[in-house]
């Protein structure tokens, strides 16, 4: 009995630094963010409690909706490309021949480099006068004068950025799908072959259902990542034209830092965190059901 009490104390002592750290640098900021969102708060004037006025203001703020809808659009376009593309790559490279292994390694390389750095790389490739994309298109005779990919038109900018991000993160889904496909027991594959299933049937009736949980989880991670997009837009378009490509996180950043409207920024952060939480809950529920 006494030893058990001692054990508890020793255990708590090992846990204490981590608890203190998370308390100070995660739990406290979350509480502080909630409190700030109810205040008019800038670095220049003392905070003043204003209830839910910041939230009300957000819903009446055109830029808030522009950013929100743009972020949803970006997510809606990029997610299916990443998931379907990643899955096709996984089907192609799941076997362990040297060429397939090599392809996996190569496709995964962009995943480990920074999004900021890859965005700078693509900022150059898509540059109107100095970029290789326009050079190649014009050598192929597809364009007669340089295309302004970034910052002139919101949709064109979005497509260019999506192309760069697909290059950067497609390997992430692929690696996880490969893991799931390789985890399918050999007997199941053999049984389906003995039963005379065609390759298409094996994919749709065996491989896909058995890896569905992974597909849902990767979709979750991918959607959340896209809803939080910032680096690529900050670097490649700086929100141009007229903040039409400023994502939700970008708008939080603009309000909190250059504009120093910290209370309003906190309210926008709360809305963002709530949106992310909703997606997390829905998809965790889905993935659990598919597992059962």
């Amino acid at each position: 009995m006494k030893r058990r009490t001692r054990n508890r104390l020793v255990g708590l002592a090992y846990l204490a630094p981590a608890l203190a750290f998370v308390g100070a640098f995660t739990v406290y900021p979350v509480g502080q963010m909630a409190w700030m969102s109810l205040n008019s708060w800038s670095l220049l004037t003392p905070p003043r409690y204003i209830g839910f006025a910041n939230y009300k203001r957000a819903f009446e703020d055109d830029q808030f909706w522009t950013s929100f809808v743009f972020t949803l659009e970006y997510t809606a376009i990029i997610t299916p490309i990443l998931i379907i593309g990643g899955y096709l790559l996984a089907l192609l490279t799941a076997s362990n021949s040297p060429l397939r292994r090599f392809t996996r390694t190569v496709v995964f390389i962009p995943v480990v480099i920074g999004l900021g750095v890859s965005s700078l790389l693509w900022y150059w490739l898509f540059s109107a006068d100095f970029g290789l994309v326009n050079r190649t298109l014009s050598d192929l005779g597809l364009i007669s004068q340089p295309v302004l990919w970034l910052g002139e038109d919101a949709n064109r900018s979005n497509l260019a950025i999506i192309a760069s991000v697909v290059w950067k993160v497609m390997g992430f889904g692929m690696i996880l799908f490969v893991g799931a496909i390789q985890a399918i027991p050999h007997e199941i594959n053999e049984a389906s072959m003995v039963d005379g299933a065609t390759p298409r049937q094996r994919v749709t009736r065996v491989v896909l259902p058995l890896t569905l949980r992974t597909v849902l989880l990767v979709t979750l991670v991918s959607v959340i990542g896209s809803l939080l997009a910032f680096d690529q837009f900050y670097i490649m378009t700086a929100g141009q034209p007229q903040n039409q490509t400023a994502t939700s996180v970008f708008y939080v950043y603009l309000n909190s830092f250059p504009y120093l409207k910290l209370g309003y920024g906190a309210a926008l952060s709360m809305i963002l965190a709530g949106t992310i939480l909703a997606f997390t809950v829905v998809q965790l529920f889905l993935s659990r059901r598919s597992h059962a």
Binding site: Y14, L15, P17, A18, L19, F21, V22, F25, T26, V27, Y28, M33, M36, L88, L89, L92, A94, L99, R100, V106, I109, P110, V112, I113, G114, L115, G116, V117, L120, L121, W122, Y123, W124, L125, S127, D129, F130, L132, N134, R135, W167, F172, I175, L176, N189, M193, P199, T214, L217, V218, V221, Y234, I235, V249, S256, L262, G265, S269, L272, I276
Partner: protein
């Protein structure tokens, strides 16, 4: 779609035919497309100054030169400063992360702590609250604590981001250590600290490598947090100074050659670490992203 379906047929079956060659060719094309942007960037970084500013650009360098690297070496505070900022922050992040999560994972895996499940969930809170949303209160707190514009401050932020993943990986690894091992050590009179250092840490080396690897890559690459916390350009990390160089250079317009040399330098450590520790990287991803 059909091609990949045939891939399965080929993989499972033994027949080697036209589809096999076709799929091999597709693999080669995919590898080329994926590598091309990186190769082009590296090639652009060794173009002579005039050529790197050419419009339209050349595909490959017509002369070799390290001018772009020289300009980057002395850009603003100089490349060594930015390299040290990035590297220092990454090392501090690894240190703080391990110092916190190794003991915590040990406690969670072996000690009868009251309310353990609840504490574990609280420790994983950052999993459901994205750090991008928490930067405003973090910035205020760090400003009060004089941690803005310090490598320690940025490392603390990076640790907070990386904490749940690290704790999760280490706890699972510690939980799979056979109880007989630590019980035997305890019978021999080892203190709980000795058990941790002599039994748990050696048997969890792969997990520790995984945690350190992910902490390094995250910290080295992280952009938004550094953008918020660092306002003095002498404290900028590599991605920040490169984003600055995108618009402000001594040549007036963007110095594309210098930008490419910076991109090359930022990418090299990540790719090297990944190629050397690929096994840890992939296993970490599997256990971290897909529980």
């Amino acid at each position: 779609m059909m091609a990949t379906l045939r891939a399965r047929a080929h993989d499972v079956g033994t027949r080697i035919g036209r589809t096999g060659y076709l799929l091999g060719a597709i693999c080669v094309i995919i590898c080329t497309v994926m590598l091309l942007p990186l190769v082009m960037s590296v090639l652009a970084s060794v173009k002579p100054t005039q050529e790197s500013a050419a419009s339209p650009p050349t595909y490959y360098p017509h002369g070799l030169s390290l001018d772009s690297y020289e300009r980057l070496w002395s850009y603003q505070q100089g490349l060594p400063t930015y390299l040290m900022n990035s590297f220092g922050t990454a090392m501090l992040t690894i240190l703080i992360t391990l110092a916190l999560t190794v003991p915590a994972a040990y406690a969670l895996a072996r000690f009868p702590i009251p309310g353990k499940e609840v504490l574990f969930v609280i420790l994983l809170l950052a999993l459901i609250v994205p750090y991008q949303a928490m930067l405003t209160p973090m910035f205020l707190m760090f400003a009060k604590l004089k941690l803005t514009n310090t490598l320690l401050g940025l490392a603390i932020l990076h640790t907070a981001i990386q904490f749940p993943f690290s704790l999760y990986i280490l706890r699972n690894s510690f939980a799979s250590v056979p109880r007989e091992l630590d019980e035997a050590a305890a019978m021999d009179g080892a203190t709980s600290w000795q058990v941790l250092v002599r039994v748990f840490v050696p048997s969890a080396v792969p997990a520790i490598v995984t945690v350190a690897l992910f902490a390094f890559i995250m910290s080295w690459n992280e952009f938004l947090g550094a953008l918020v916390m660092m306002s003095h350009s002498s404290r900028f990390t590599l991605p920040l100074i490169l984003a600055t160089a995108r618009t402000e250079t001594s040549l007036g317009g963007t110095d594309w050659g210098m930008l490419q040399s910076g991109i090359t330098i930022s990418i090299v450590p990540c790719v090297l670490v990944y190629l050397l520790l690929q096994r840890y990287y992939v296993s970490g991803l599997m256990s971290g992203a897909v529980k």
